[in-house]
């Protein structure tokens, strides 16, 4: 058993010299005990301190540069096994230098993970270390207290020298302290948290900044914690604000939405006009190509009642207005019979382009598929956000699917209100074109009466809702 004493936890040079000697002496990896400092080695009392002489005939060898880089980083890891692991890898590379390329090998993987952890720790120290200013006789000094996870303090000194070379600063850690006077770096004994100043005049401004740059409408605490785990918080002044910011975030977002919803819809007409103009250019699904134009909703911006149909038909597509074809005329008649004032209603369609199949000279209506309904839902939602009707009526299954997001059977859903995701009240009934397609006159009249009945009930409910 060989016993190697290294000067310090980050004694990379000492390890390198010892490892080379051990390899030349032909000492296997499990016959070396690595120790940091001069502590007693009771467990290995029989171990030979120092590196044995080279075995006869042993030749100097070189290892790939990649190994040297990997070792320089991984040796800073806190794991006491690091020296032995790297030595084991060194012995293997001596015989097979190219084995370093095998990144799927368990030993190489372990060492690479160690190096990765060290690099992350170094990076987090660059990021999360906070200086506090103190007045000294010679002027201002910036002092930080930091607790790294691995033995990275010396290796990290260069970064702070390059960045803050014209300042005077000190970094205190539980392992050692570093002091820079503007010209040279000095090392000192381990520090304690109490040795560093406990406040700084700029911290109040920094906390103001931290609290203000946070957007409460997009809370993502898991993402924050992944990059800034709680173990770092104790030395970061701004982290003290996190719990309160998180607790308050939802209230602030709700408040924003509430204020917006209760504010008078002064420019709702303008908003609707602007939306209509944007919709004229809609390319959200391929239906715009064969269609003549976008047929957008129509009606007052403050309408308490919104009717949503399926899609424009042949005549609507040519005219650019919803519900002007045969179904529209039937709809108008039914509204009249039910005593509902169409001029107070906003009328629109679930899909805003005419979908058809050409058959000879005629364009035959084709049912929009769920992808097209989904693509067009964006417009319905915008319209609903602006108009904010007290009551919405879905005419037919397509409209019902667009509004509720699921497939609905009219016969089961009609006659009772449905609560929409945005809180609005929705009633479902048939589409007027369904009435046009019934061949038998008596059934047609029967269904028409039912439709008028539905509309009458909707009218009554609207009167209730709007007072």
């Amino acid at each position: 058993m060989a016993l190697v004493r290294l000067a310090a936890d980050d004694d990379v040079e000492g390890w390198r010299a010892a490892a080379r000697g051990l390899a030349l002496a032909g000492v296997p990896a499990d016959a070396v005990h690595w120790q940091v400092g001069d502590g007693p080695a009771d467990l290995f009392a029989d171990a030979e301190p120092g590196v044995p002489p080279p075995a006869p005939g042993a030749e100097a060898f070189s290892v790939p540069r990649r190994f040297v880089e990997l070792a320089e980083t991984a040796l800073l890891h806190a794991d006491p096994e690091r020296f032995a692991r790297l030595y084991a890898l060194l012995l293997r590379l001596r015989d097979q230098p190219r084995a370093i390329e095998d990144r799927a090998d368990p030993l190489i993987r372990t060492i690479e993970d160690m190096a990765k952890a060290v690099r992350r720790d170094m990076h987090k120290m660059h990021a999360f270390l906070r200086f506090r200013a103190v007045e000294e006789a010679e002027g201002e000094r910036f002092v930080a207290w930091y607790e790294p996870e691995h033995h990275i303090v010396r290796a990290n000194a260069g970064f702070f020298v390059r960045r803050f070379s014209t300042l005077r600063w000190s970094i205190l850690t539980p392992q050692l302290s570093l002091h820079w006077d503007g010209i040279s770096l000095a090392e000192g004994p381990p520090g304690q948290r109490g040795d560093a100043p406990d406040a700084d005049p700029a911290e109040a401004a920094w906390k103001t900044y931290y609290a203000s740059i946070f957007n409460p409408a997009r809370l993502k605490t898991a993402a924050m914690l992944r990059e800034m785990p709680k173990k770092y918080w104790k030395n970061m002044p701004e982290a003290a604000l996190v719990p309160a910011l998180v607790a308050d975030a939802q209230r602030r977002e709700r408040e924003m939405i509430m204020t917006a919803q209760t504010s008078p819809a002064g420019n709702a007409t303008l908003a609707l006009e602007a939306l209509r103009e944007e919709a004229a250019q809609c390319r959200r699904c391929p239906l715009w190509k064969p269609a003549t134009q976008t047929v957008f909703g129509e009606g007052p911006a403050g309408a308490p009642l919104m009717f949503v149909g399926e899609q424009p038909g042949d005549q609507e597509d040519l005219a650019g207005h919803p519900f002007v074809g045969p179904a529209g005329q039937l709809f108008d008649r039914a509204l009249g019979d039910a005593g509902v004032d169409r001029s107070r209603a906003y009328v629109t369609n679930a899909v805003k382009h005419f979908k058809f199949e050409p058959r000879g000279k005629r364009r035959i209506h084709a049912k929009p598929d769920s992808g097209e309904i989904e693509a067009c839902r964006w417009w319905i939602e915008q319209e609903r956000d602006i108009v904010r009707p007290a009551l919405t009526v879905a005419l037919g299954v397509t409209a019902a699917q667009s509004l509720t997001g699921r497939s609905i059977t009219i016969s089961r859903a009609r006659g009772a209100p449905v609560r929409l995701a945005d809180g609005g009240e929705c009633w479902i009934t048939v589409h007027p074109s369904f009435l046009l397609r019934i061949p038998e006159a008596d059934r047609k009249a029967e269904e028409y009466a039912r439709f008028v009945d539905d509309l009458r009930r909707i009218g009554a409910r609207l009167a209730e809702l709007t007072g």
Partner: protein
């Protein structure tokens, strides 16, 4: 008292800047203060995030506006003319002092300065440039500076901005022109893109000059970036990625940021009140990565989206969506497949692929080897052939797609 005023202003002007997603402090030229008599700061290539806010965003730069007063009336913007938000204005000297004070305490990597437009585009740009100039020339600041550029500003001012700043950015704001017309009526897409083209030209010109003369002045060494707001106009994911691809292509942008439209206090009635799901923003970033680092073409990304609605699925990442649509490309043999094919395996990142390529020169890889190179081999397995592993036909495997969310059936549904 003056101190308090400055803090109040900082609160207002940081709050006003938080809707800009950009935070990068990477990719610029290396600078160091070691051996320098004056000044402060360094950049070492890699960006540093000095803190994270509870919204998951990194805080790398002091991101503020010079002023939140604005003569424009863009509906999505909290600083628009018609908004009732409190207004404030920093002097250039105050911004310089604040930046240096934060930098000395290791709070930040540098400054990201933007501004509402006051008086004129030129006047505003002049003020922004003055801050950067003072930091660089009066204080020898070697940290990172990102300046927002105003599209119609005088080319001489853009020139000065690029001389001092590491990165310039001009926001395209909205992915569609019709959206821009509706929500930012005073802005014009051709003008914005014209300014981007100008910046690209200067960057390339100066890179070329520096290759020949080391002393040639630099111009925005960290390039230019832009931001698009997602969910405020009718653009689909396919539209957005088409736009982003065009911007990368035409203007050699370093980054396109996607920012899910966020409800703002005192919102304009022209705007949707709801925010789009934040996961949509995430999916767009994933497709952006696929375009830039994984060798996917725009057509590939489009094919991953739903053919009718043009939207990427929210419940799986776009790489998995693509793989599920093109099952014939899988499984891929980890011991033989070319790099391009490996990069298309859902769950294999660039690093893991590099690891596989290096390791397989050495020996044939088994599934446990892949497990050591990646996070979750269970998700990868259906797409891979390894020395000791051959999956059953992908089409029959349910575990590949996330299970549909379960819904409680309604007992008494009408």
């Amino acid at each position: 008292m003056a101190q308090l005023d400055l803090r109040a202003k900082l609160g207002i002007l940081a709050d006003a800047a938080k809707y800009d997603a950009s935070c990068a402090s990477s990719g610029t030229r290396k600078r160091s203060s070691e051996g320098q008599a004056k000044g402060i700061g360094s950049t070492e290539g890699m960006g540093i995030c000095h803190a994270y806010a509870p919204d998951g965003r990194c805080i790398s730069l002091l991101k503020i506006l010079l002023t939140n007063s604005c003569i424009f009336d863009c509906h999505y913007c909290i600083n628009r003319k018609s908004s009732n938000v409190r207004r404030a204005r920093f002097t250039p000297a105050e911004v310089v002092e604040l930046t240096l004070s934060f930098y000395r305490r290791n709070y930040i990597e540098g400054l990201f300065l933007s501004s509402g437009i006051i008086r004129s585009s030129d006047y505003t740009m002049e003020q922004l440039v003055e801050v950067a100039r003072s930091l660089r020339e009066d204080h020898h600041f070697r940290g990172y500076i990102h300046l927002k550029t105003i599209p119609d500003a005088d080319p001489l001012l853009i020139e000065a901005a690029g001389r001092h700043a590491d990165r310039l950015s001009i926001n395209v704001e909205l992915p569609t022109e019709s959206g821009l017309a509706r929500l930012a009526p005073e802005k014009s897409a051709p003008r914005i893109e014209g300014a981007m083209a100008g910046v690209r030209h200067k960057i390339e010109d100066r890179q070329d000059a520096r290759r020949r003369y080391r002393s040639a002045p630099g111009f925005a060494p960290a390039g230019q970036s832009t931001q698009m707001i997602i969910g405020a106009d009718a653009a689909t994911d396919r539209d957005i990625m088409t736009k982003a691809h065009g911007l990368y292509d035409r203007h050699a942008l370093r980054r396109v940021y996607y920012s899910a439209f966020s409800p703002i206090p005192d919102a304009s009635a022209v705007l949707p009140l709801k925010r789009p799901p934040l996961i949509r923003e995430h999916r767009l970033y994933q497709s952006d990565w696929m375009l830039r680092f994984y060798g996917y073409s725009l057509a590939d990304i489009s094919a991953a989206a739903d053919p009718a609605s043009g939207m990427l699925p929210l419940d799986m990442d776009p790489k998995l969506a693509w793989a599920l649509r093109f099952r014939e490309h899988f499984p891929v043999d980890v011991n033989r497949a070319p790099r391009e094919a490996l990069l298309r395996v859902p769950g294999l990142g660039v690093k893991a692929v590099n690891g596989i390529l290096a390791a397989r020169r050495w020996r044939r890889l088994r599934l446990e080897d892949i497990a050591r190179l990646t996070r979750s081999v269970v998700k990868l397995r259906p797409f891979l052939i390894a020395e000791d592993w051959r999956p059953v036909r992908l089409g029959d495997r349910l575990e590949v797609a996330p299970p549909p969310p379960r819904q409680q059936l309604e007992l008494f549904a009408a």
